[in-house]
Structures are given as C-alpha cells and as structure tokens.
Symmetry: C2
Subunit: 310 residues, 2 copies
C-alpha cells in the first residue's frame, strides 16, 4: 500500500467514524419517534453509554466503503452502518454481563452493568438489538423496500441463533461452562469464530453490495472479501490477547489463556498465525480484483485489520 | 355474545393456537437456514423450551383474526403471529432472570434460566428477539416487501426503548429498584402498561390491517381496538394477581402487592377495576362497529381477555 492510499484510508476511516458517531447520537435522542410512547431516561442513558464515545466504527466503515463501490447513497450506508453498530454494541453489553464473560472494563470505561446495573444492561442490550432492525426498516435507508427487508433478513441471520448469538453460546461451551472442558479442533474454532465475530463483518461487506443492488456474482465477491476480513479480524484479536496489554487494549488481555480456551494462535503458534494472516490478505486482494483501483480503500482496510494494535 | 359466537370463538382460538404451535416448532427446527452457519443444540433447546408447549397464543390469534377481516392470506398472518410470539417469549425469558423479576416458574414449568442457566437464557432471549425480525422479513409473510418492512418497523417501535423494553424499565423503577420508592399516579401506571404489555397487543391488531393493506382510517379503527385490548388485558392481569392463585396461574400470584407496586386495581379497587373493564369492552365494540358481524370473533376476543381466569 503506498503512502497516499494509506493517508486516504486513515482520513476516510476517521470521517466515517465521525459521521457515524453523530448519527448514533441523533438516533439516541431524547424525543420519542412515531409509534414510541416514551423514552425512559435511565434506559436511554445506558444505551448511550454502550454506543457513544468510542470505537473505530470499523463495521460502519466497511458498509460505507462497500456501498461506495456501487455508488449507493452515503446516507443509507451510514444508517445501515449505525444499525450494525447498535447490534454490535448490544452484543458487547450482554457478553460483558456477570453471567456471561463478567467484564468490568470496555474501551477503558466501566461496562454498562457496572455503570448501571445488570437489569438495565440487559434491557439496554435488548433495546439496541431492536433499534438495529428499526433503523434498517426506515425508508431513509433505501427507497426500495425490498432492499430494506433484505438487509433486515440478512442481519437477523448473521446475528441470531445461527450467527453471532450462537457463536457466543459455542464460546461459553468452549470454556467448559456446560460440560467437561475439551480440546477444540481447528474446524470447531473456525465455525465458532465465523459465527461469533465473522458473521457481522461479512454482513457489513454484503450490505454495501445489497444497498448498491449488485448482481449475484458481485455480491459473492463482497461476500468472500467479508469472510476473509472476518477471519483476519479474529486472528488479529487472538494475537492481541497474547501480545497486547490491558492498558493499550482498554479491556482485559490474556483472557483466552486464563480461560483455557483454544484459539488459532494456540494451535498455529504466533508465527503460524501471522503467516495465516498474510495468506488471508492475498485472498482478500484476489476477491477485490474485479473492482480494480476503486477498491483500494477496502484493500487498505484489510491490511489495517490484520495489523491492528488495539 | 350468543352461544354460537362463543363456540365459534373457542374453536378458532384453539385452531390458531394449534397452527401457531406447529409453525413455531418448524421455525425452531434443527437444520440451519441459508445465511446461518450452525444451530448450537443447547441454545436451540433453550429457545424451544421458551416458546413451545404452552400459552393461549393470544397475540397470534389477534393477528390472524384482524387479517381475516381484510381477507389477507392466513399463512402470512400465522407467520406474523409466530414472529410476535417469539418476541413475546423473549421478553418473558429476560424478565424472569434473577437480576430482573427473579421468577422460577412460568406456565407451570421451570423458567429458562432455571432449566438451563442465566447465560443460556440471555442468549435464548436475544436469539428469539432476532428470530422475530428474521421471520417478518421473509417473502412468505407477504409478497409486497413494503408490507414486510412496515411490519418490521412497527414491531421494533412497539417492543424497544419506546415500547415493551422501556415499559419493563419503568416497571423495575416502580418497584423502587433505582431510587426511593414513590407512589405512582394513574397516568404513570397507564403509560407504563401501554408500553410493557399494551404495545404488543396493539401491534397484533395493527399487523392484521397492515397485512390486509387497509386504508388509514381502517388501520386507525384496528389501532383503537388494539389499544383497548391492551388496557383490558392489563387490568385483567392485575385482577388475577389479586384474585387468582399460583396453582391456577402457573406463575406466582400476589407479586404486585409484595413488591409494593401500584396498579389500577390498587388505585380503583376491585369493583372499580371491573367497571373500568366493562367500559373498555364498550369502547372496543364501538371501534369495531364499521366491520359489522365480520368482527364478531374480535368482539368475543375482547370479552374473553377481560374475563380471563389464567
């Protein structure tokens, strides 16, 4: 990646994050919308705590840049990205609960159940999940209702029983929560990760193509790229858990080893994991080949995700 | 209500419940759908525990009978009803959690967190909520994607921050969970109940009109009827909490008084509450007047809800 592309990438990542933050603040405003009866202040405050003021907004960025490949309207892509971010943040709030991963710290701040209480955190997560689908169904996302209902269906599949939530279930099982702890095979780890973290990143890339009404072949290219990004993100995450420190991460490091959890890093070793990451970058480049230079920002995103330090 | 209408009502309520149960069992089958990676057995079993084998299926029935007023396809109404039931059951699973209402018993069976564990119950609730939107976005619900995305948007508004989840937040606050306990005014109780239980029943009636592509005026009539049903349901519920017993209810009775929670019954008295119920029945009849005899089943439903014993 040349220096100009890198600067361009950084500038666009920052711009999308700034726009997403503003949009999320607006979506979590005080005034009830049509069909809402009231917005209880404590619940709204907990939702804001969960969503505002942090994060790279990587998922919204991937939606925006994927949509840009097809010249889809930026406003609809930003709304779709904001919906995805609400869903991502709900999963963090629930995963942090004492009965789940029991984390006190997230992005360097108290988790929602620490700042409020468990019941409020459960309801804030539930409401963020619901808000995600609320946003996707709004006419401002896309003038064609088929695009909107496709986004709803795809996000639901990516995040429910057969996607993210199911992945968290497998993750708890992998920590030996429900039965005797057992070694996990590489295939089992890949399935778990494809569900727990891969599915939403894959949706982010597919969503851009759906907003742009791409044909099936082009959608498949974005799907492949999204799957690669998902795998790379997870290996980078597992490496950070081994190589990073709690202060830089803003969350606890070394948790996988402490939980006795198998990851690709524990199977492949640190060098092997870095090699796997390099291979994924090549795969991602290949998927984007048909788009030529137009996809340089997405290429840079893949490299950024593989090399990230927080 | 004459005897024939009553028999007809009972037969149709039972038929809709049977069809809904079969549909829910099918929706919670073992095989992953397109876009799903795997269905983890423990999570799926907890979702089935939450949804299958019980309940009057009152919300699906209201969808089916409202849709029938407009000659809308029964299959789409049943799917919409099943989605609504998934959402209703998610709310029961989360409300029963130790950090929320801490209930061990539901429909005479152990609650999900007792039968499994807290983490599994949280994820089962999350996945049922997600499944509700998944179902509504499917082409089988209605051939017009605008109908599907409208259903998604309306259900999200009815069940999120400004609806059901917000109502549960207010309910916890009314029990003095977050601040000094305080007396609630009748207005505050009505807002809380319109959110916590009213919004979904109202959606059930609106959904039928949306599936039937009713005009605005007709939709407004169903909306009024749905709001009346919601109020009647809640007063009947509060009366049952005072007059019923745990064995018949299949859940704990006398909880409101124990929690020091104000209800319309504690404000109006038992006789006053019964009078309010009678007034609501009259209001509901008035809203249905334009439909003539076609709406006899919905009229019977209103009386059934007001007089229910479990």
């Amino acid at each position: 990646m040349d220096a100009r592309t890198h600067d361009d990438f950084t500038r666009r990542l920052t711009a999308a994050a700034t726009e997403t933050e503003a949009l999320l603040a607006e979506l979590l405003g005080d005034a009830p919308l049509p069909g809402e009866i009231a917005r209880p202040p404590r619940l709204l405050a907990a939702m804001r705590h969960a969503v505002l003021g942090g994060g790279k907004r990587l998922r919204p960025f991937l939606v925006v840049e994927s949509a840009a490949l097809f010249g889809a309207a930026r406003k609809g892509a930003l709304l779709t990205g904001a919906a995805l971010e609400c869903l991502h943040c709900y999963s963090l709030v629930h995963d942090d609960l004492p009965s789940m991963d029991n984390d006190d710290l997230r992005r360097g701040r108290p988790t929602v159940h620490k700042a409020y209480d468990d019941a409020t955190a459960i309801l804030a997560g539930d409401s963020l999940l619901t808000l995600a689908f609320d946003i996707l169904a709004r006419p401002e996302v896309h003038s064609d209702p088929l695009v909107r209902s496709t986004l709803v269906l795809e996000l639901a599949r990516a995040s429910g029983l057969g996607g993210m939530a199911g992945g968290q279930m497998l993750d708890l099982a992998a920590e030996g929560r429900f039965e005797a702890r057992r070694a996990q095979s590489q295939d089992e780890i890949l399935t778990l990760q494809a569900m727990k973290t891969g599915a939403l990143l894959r949706f982010a890339c597919r969503a851009g193509a759906i907003l742009g009404r791409a044909d099936d072949k082009t959608l498949a290219a974005l799907d492949t790229f999204g799957a690669v990004i998902g795998k790379a993100f997870q290996i980078a995450d597992d490496l950070l858990d081994v190589e990073g420190d709690t202060a830089t991460l803003g969350k606890a490091a070394g948790k996988d080893a402490a939980a006795g959890k198998a990851t690709l890093v524990s199977i492949l070793g640190i060098d092997g994991a870095h090699k796997r990451l390099d291979g994924l970058i090549v795969e991602g480049e290949a998927a984007l080949a048909p788009f030529g230079a137009k996809a340089d920002i997405l290429r840079a995103a893949a490299r950024f995700i593989a090399a990230r330090k927080t």
